[in-house]
Amino acid sequence: MKKKNLKISDISKDGDAQLTEINIDELILLPPPYDKSEELPGFKKLTQDQKERLVCNLDGFVALALPKPKSKEEEEKYVRPFISGLKKLLSKENNWTFLQPLLLSLDHCARCQTCNEACPVYVASGRNDLYRPTYRSEVFRRLIEKYAKPGGKLISKLKGTDIELNWAAISRLYELSYRCNLCRRCAQACPVGVDNALITRELRKLFSQELGWAPQELHEKGTVLQLEVGSPTGLRPDVAIDNVKFLDEDFSEATGIEIKTPWDKEGADVLLLHSAGDLLSFPESVMAFAILCNAADISWTLSSEVPGYDGVNYGLFYDDVQLARVATRHAQIARKLKVKKIIMGECGHEHKALMTVADRLLTGDLNIPRESFMTFLEDIVFSGRIKFDPSKNDFPVTLHDPCNIVRNLGIVEPQRRILRYLCPQFREMTPHGVDNYCCGGGGGLAVMSDVNITDWKAGVAGRMKLKQVLEAFSDSPGPEVNKYICAPCLNCKLQFRVIFNYYGAREKSGIFCGGLAELIVNAMVVIKKPFINWGES
C-alpha cells in the first residue's frame, strides 16, 4: 500500500487496493492530555464483511457505502455517464450556475501548491498527499482535459498529463470528494484565485446530477426528505409545533418567564428560520431566540409549512437543483406569510445558501430581504430593550467562526461585539475571523456518519480545530473550570459534539459547546437561574 508521494495517475490503478493509509502517529500533535496516541481511541478498522460488500479503495475510511460492482461490465458502465457529466459541467445550459468560476479554476492553476498549508485536513493528517486540496482537483482537471475537450487524448499525451478513467478513478474520486470541508481556506491562499473547494463541489455535483450518486444523509435523508416532509430530521410540521409547544412550557417553567412561540403569523416583520436539528439537539438555542425576540418586542414568527421550519439546505454541498428547490421553497413561504425579512438562524450553510448563493435564483417577488441572526441579535443586545448583567457570563469563552458565515459572507464583527460586551473572559482562537479553521464538519460531513467516517471527522478533519480550542483555553486546561465554546452554527455544534465525544474533551477539559443566543440569554437580568446548564441535563 502506498502511503505518501502519490502520483496523480495512481487514482486509476489497482482498483480494489486501498490508495493510502492514515497513521495516527503521523497526525499533528495535540496538547496534553491528548498527546499520547496510544491513549486515544484510534480509528475503527473496516470489517471483512464491509470490505467484501463496499468499495473501500481510498484511505481506510468509508463515508458513502458504495456497493462493489459485481462484474467488470458493471464497473465499465459508469465510465460513459461520468464523461457525459464532465461535458455537462462545461456547458452553459446545464451549468450556467457555476460555469465561469469552474472554468477559471480549471484552466489557470499554476500547480504551485501554495494552497496546501492552508488546508486543515491536509496538515492535520500529517500532510498526506491524498488530502492536498490540489490532488483531487488535478485528477479532475486532467480527466476533463482528456475526456471532455476536443483532441484531449492527444493533448494529454503531449503534455504528459495522461490519466485513465476507469472504475478505480471514479469510485475513488467519489469518496475523495467527501474528504473536503469546502471551507475555502485553500481558495483564500491561492495567489491566482483558483478555488479547489469549488472544484470539489462541482465534482460532487457531477456525481449527484448525472450518476445519481450522493451521500444518503445529504440526499435521500436530506434534501429529498426535507422537500417531502419538511426536514432532514424527519420532523413533520405537526410534530415540530408540538415539540416547540412542549419546549415553551418547559423553558417557561425553568426560567420563570412566559415563553410563547408564534407560528404562521401573517404579516409579521420577521420569519425566523431555524434549523430543525436545533429543535432536537440544541433546543435551548431555539428557546433563547424566543426569549430574546419576545423580550425585545419583535414581531416575529416561525412557519409550520414544509420546509419552512427547517432552514438547512444540503443542496449547497452537492447539487444545484436541490439547492434551488429548497431555497425557492423557503422564499415562497416567506412571501406567503408577507414577512418583511427572513432571519437566518444559527446555521452557517443556511446563511450561505439563502443569503448569497441563491440570491441570483430568487428573482422577482421571491427576492425577500434576508439577514443573519448575528446582526439581528446585535441590534437586540445594543438596543437597550433588554437589561444584561455580563458578570453572569464570567467563565472562559471562545468563539468558533463558522466558515459559511464568516469566511464566505464576511460577517465577522457583530458576534464579537456581543461577546466582548457580555462575556468578561472572552478570548479569540488563533487564527480567527476569516482565517479561522473549519470545525471539520463542513461541506455536509457534520451530518454524515456512515460506516466509519465519524472517526475520520473527529480524528483527522476536526483535529486542527480541537488543537485551536485547547490552545485558546490553555490558561485553564483542566475539567474543574467550565469553558464555553460559542459555535453559532448547528452543523459546527454537531461536529464539536462528535469531536468532544471522540476525545473525551468534556470530561478531560471541561469544554462545552453552545450557541450565541444562549450566552445572551444567560446574561439577561430577568433570567434568575443560569440558562446554560453545561450539559448536565
Binding site: 495567489p191 491566482v192 478555488d195
Partner: protein, 306 residues
C-alpha cells in the same frame, strides 16, 4: 535573414498573441452570470476589509448605502502582482524563485516599452541627451530583467524537480514552459552581454520594424533572442500562464463579486433559467425539454417558476 522576414514574423507573432489573448478574454466575459460565490476578505468593503468584514454585517443591510473603495482593490492587486504577497505568506520557499521570475518578466515588459519609446525618439529626432537617458534606463531594465528572469526560471526548474511536493504536480508541459521561459531570458542575457550597446541595437531594430524599413540587420545572439521571445508569446496564451489576465476575473468576477441581484441581472437570469437542462440523474426529473425553472418549480411546492 532578410529584413522582410522580421516584419512578417514579428507582426504575425504579435497579432497571434493579441488575437489569442482577446479570444480568451472574450470567452470568459461572455460566460453567463453565475451564482454568488464570494470569499472574504473583499478589499472594496470600506472600513471592513482590514478584518474581512462585508456589508452583510449591517443591520438590514439592504436599507444602507454601500460604502465601496475603488483604490483598495487596486492596492491589494498591486501587492499581489508586484510582491507576490500570497506566495510570500503561504509558500515562502517558492517565493524567491517565483518573485525573481515575475520581476524579470515585469522588467522585460518595461524594456520592450522603453525600446518602443526610444524608437519613436529616433524617428521624431528627439534630442540625443534624452534618447541616451532612456537608452541607459532600457539597458539597466533589460539586464535586470534577463538576470532575474533567468534565475527565477532556472530556479523553478530545479525547485520543481527536487521538491517532492512540486514534483508530484509537474508534468512535461510544466517543465517545457519553464525551459522556454529560461530560454527567453538566457538568450536575452547573452545578447545583452554580447552586444556593445544592447539598448541602441534593440531600439534600432524596433525603429526599423515600425518604419517598415527592409534593411533590418541584427547580430546573431539578438536574432536568436527575438525569435525565441516571439515564439514564446505565441505559445503563452495557450497555457495557464495567462493568469496575468484571468487573475482579474478570478478576483473581480468571483471572489469579490458580492453584488446583490439587480434588475439588469434579473433579465439575464430569466433567460438562463429558461434554458433546457438535461442532467441524467432521476431526481433531476429532466426530460431534455424541461428548463431549469420547470425543474425547480415542479419540486418546490407551488407550481410556479422562481
Amino acid at each position: 535573414m532578410s529584413g522582410i522576414f522580421w516584419h512578417i514574423f514579428t507582426f504575425s507573432a504579435v497579432c497571434i498573441f493579441l488575437i489569442l489573448i482577446v479570444y480568451r478574454i472574450i470567452s470568459i466575459v461572455r460566460l453567463p452570470v453565475h451564482l454568488r460565490w464570494e470569499l472574504a476578505p473583499i478589499p472594496h468593503e470600506k472600513g471592513k476589509a482590514k478584518y474581512g468584514g462585508s456589508y452583510l454585517e449591517e443591520y438590514e443591510w439592504w436599507q444602507k448605502p454601500r460604502r465601496k473603495s475603488r483604490i483598495a482593490p487596486i492596492i491589494y492587486m498591486a501587492k499581489e502582482i508586484f510582491l507576490l504577497k500570497g506566495v510570500w505568506k503561504n509558500n515562502r520557499s517558492l517565493w524567491p524563485f517565483s518573485f525573481a521570475l515575475h520581476t524579470g518578466i515585469y522588467f522585460f515588459i518595461l524594456t520592450l516599452i522603453l525600446h518602443l519609446i526610444n524608437a519613436l525618439f529616433i524617428i521624431t529626432g528627439t534630442p540625443l541627451y534624452v534618447l541616451n537617458v532612456f537608452k541607459d534606463i532600457a539597458a539597466v531594465a533589460a539586464v535586470m530583467g534577463y538576470i532575474l528572469g533567468s534565475l527565477g526560471a532556472v530556479g523553478l526548474i530545479f525547485k520543481r524537480a527536487l521538491d517532492a511536493d512540486l514534483r508530484l504536480f509537474s508534468s512535461f508541459s510544466t517543465y517545457f514552459r519553464l525551459v522556454f521561459l529560461a530560454a527567453v531570458f538566457i538568450s536575452g542575457a547573452f545578447a545583452w552581454f554580447y552586444s556593445g550597446d544592447f539598448a541602441s541595437e534593440a531600439s534600432l531594430f524596433v525603429k526599423r520594424l515600425i518604419t517598415l524599413d527592409a534593411g533590418i540587420t541584427v547580430t546573431l545572439p539578438l536574432a536568436a533572442h527575438i525569435i525565441i521571445s516571439l515564439l514564446f508569446i505565441i505559445y503563452l496564451p495557450l497555457t495557464d500562464m495567462v493568469h496575468f489576465i484571468t487573475k482579474y476575473f478570478t478576483y473581480h468576477a468571483v471572489r469579490w463579486d458580492d453584488e446583490p441581484q439587480d434588475k439588469a441581472m434579473e433579465e439575464e437570469l430569466s433567460g438562463l433559467i429558461n434554458q433546457p437542462v438535461n442532467w441524467s440523474a432521476a431526481h433531476v426529473k429532466s426530460d431534455g425539454k424541461k428548463d431549469w425553472a420547470d425543474i425547480v418549480a415542479g419540486e418546490s411546492g407551488e407550481k410556479e417558476k422562481p
